[in-house]
Symmetry: C2
Subunit: 180 residues, 2 copies
């Protein structure tokens, strides 16, 4: 694993992804914008969010190997739909110890197992943002084919019904598409 | 727990802590300088290291409660000696899953238990730096009384002899003192 990869998500007038909706799930929304660029720290924009692709924080070796065998990467030709879901968790979440957060996230909420159910259709990349002083703690980027949109929505509905989501204080659901 | 606290360590001509030694334990050293300021992002200096006081990454609830009951905070009047120990770990460490890192760190190396043996004499604060794109992954700041210097050295010797330290690719041991 190389040094952590810093990724900027810049919403503005230009970019390969067209923003089709910005919906606040919890807390404040983000401003609407026509397009999104991913990975260009120099771009100006309506808003910019930054995160870091970092080491695993909860996933075990067995889980990681299982996921790696199933998942596919970003950038598939068929994956012309995407979602960016920035999330902030409450101070109560961050005050918990490591074993308490893992217990809520997986033993109670099956977060990793739920995501696994949608592999390889729903590709994802998690970006950590809390330690950067960003307004969100996590930025998750998803890519999938148009026909997998209902499956993606079902996955989100399952996750949002978990005990873990009681600790989500802000969540914005941004949907995007690009030409095939 | 409030938002993560960002802390700058600035080595230069001024500051309340006098640098008495800078010693490379693994990899390159840092440049010598007369003084260190802690927590001033605006200060110029010979070098500056930045880290974030963030959520627990390995410590369990039981361990955290035990440590909290024993430890004392920074800034004690008697604690006129300090050490700043920046550490970088290898890519092999960061490629490990959460359970593998915890296994090496505590089950094999007793990192948390060793630190506990020196409470409350050796006060400490851990700063995470890897996700900030810094040259080190961790900056640990220690404060203790002059008479506890031998105990501090013994603690470091025990930690450096552990399996966890095989993953340390760079370590600098900076010692400091201030007037009583």
């Amino acid at each position: 694993m190389a040094a952590p990869l810093t990724v900027d998500f810049v919403a503005g007038e230009t970019g390969p992804w067209r923003i089709t909706s910005v919906r606040a799930i919890a807390g404040d929304a983000l401003a609407p914008a026509p397009c999104l660029q991913v990975g260009d720290p120099g771009a100006a924009g309506v808003w910019r969010l930054r995160g870091v692709v970092s080491n695993l924080r909860y996933t075990t070796k067995a889980e990681a190997a299982d996921l790696a065998a199933r998942q596919e990467g970003l950038g598939r030709k068929s994956a012309t739909r995407a979602a960016l879901i920035p999330i902030r968790k409450s101070p109560e979440w961050w005050a918990l110890a490591q074993d308490e957060r893992r217990e809520i996230m997986e033993a109670q909420s099956r977060h990793i197992a739920i995501g696994r159910d949608y592999l390889p259709a729903i590709a994802r990349r998690l970006h950590h943002a809390r330690d950067l002083g960003e307004p969100f703690d996590f930025l998750t980027w998803f890519e999938f084919a148009p026909s997998d949109t209902p499956a993606f929505d079902a996955m989100l509905a399952r996750l949002r019904a978990t005990p873990e989501w009681r600790f989500v204080s802000r969540e914005v659901d941004i949907r995007l598409e690009r030409g095939a």
